[in-house]
């Protein structure tokens, strides 16, 4: 009886911990400086999903909180030597895939050296 109460409290505490979350702030645009040189347009995407616990309730994030940061890093990686982006456009798409909802972020911009 006592064990079940402890287990229930543990599950509730864990649920509360995972049911709200925030990503780290990701710097997606910078001010160009005198020495910066354009390397051309680049683009990066990253997806994350909210997975299920039961049929109607989804609250387990998988890659969801880091998707902006990952998309930005991927955009920079496509242009070797790129240090930042300017003229940045950001877009998010989402789709439902029964076991969860996926959200994808695309960061497009001009890579600067």
């Amino acid at each position: 009886m006592k064990q079940s109460k402890v287990l229930r409290s543990g599950v509730t505490a864990l649920s509360l911990l995972i049911t709200a979350c925030s990503s780290m702030p990701t710097n997606v645009t910078s001010t160009p400086n005198e020495s910066s040189k354009s390397l051309g347009t680049t683009e990066g995407s990253a997806c994350g999903s909210m997975l299920l616990l039961g049929t109607a309730y989804y609250f387990i994030p998988v890659g969801l909180n880091s998707r902006v940061e990952t998309a930005y890093k991927r955009a920079l990686e496509k242009k070797p030597g790129a240090k930042s982006l300017v003229n940045v456009t950001m877009q998010e798409n989402w789709y439902w895939w029964v076991l969860g909802t996926a959200r994808c972020v695309t960061v497009k911009g001009e890579a600067m050296q």
């Binding site: 990503s23 997606v28 001010t31 300017v86 003229n87 950001m90």
Partner: protein, 130 residues
């Protein structure tokens, strides 16, 4: 269609209602069609690839904006797709014509039993024009 018809026939043999099965198939197809969406693209920060000469970079001030949307029952978006654009419009408004740079994006979400609240927060530095 042949597959659905065949399944419908077998379903009837088992005592089910073929019309009910067809209605369910239509409902599932409609839900699947509705359950994917693209957000509105947002142009973040001022657009320039060169150092702007008419901006005073010694007088930057922090600005921020936030917009939220609600995903009801997993696949009904309420202001979810436009939240990036809404946050960006608020940021531009707060800049009052100043040069916007160093835009930082923070995404957050909160479980709300019948859905999920998604929020986008933009913080940046606004530099006045000379």
């Amino acid at each position: 269609m042949v597959g659905i018809g065949y399944r419908a026939l077998r379903y009837r043999k088992r005592g089910g209602d073929a019309m009910k099965l067809i209605k369910q198939s239509i409902l599932i197809s409609a839900l699947a069609a509705l359950s994917a969406c693209s957000g509105v693209p947002a142009q973040l920060g001022s657009t320039t690839t060169e150092v702007p000469k008419n901006v005073d970079f010694s007088q930057g001030r922090p600005i921020n904006a936030r917009a939220c949307g609600f995903q009801l029952l997993l696949f009904i978006p309420i202001a979810v797709n436009s939240r990036m654009q809404n946050a960006n419009e608020e940021l531009i408004e707060k800049a009052r014509g100043d040069y916007i740079s160093d835009v930082k994006v923070t995404e957050s979400w909160k479980y709300a039993v019948v859905g999920t609240v998604y929020c986008t927060e933009l913080s940046a530095t606004a530099y006045p024009r000379k």
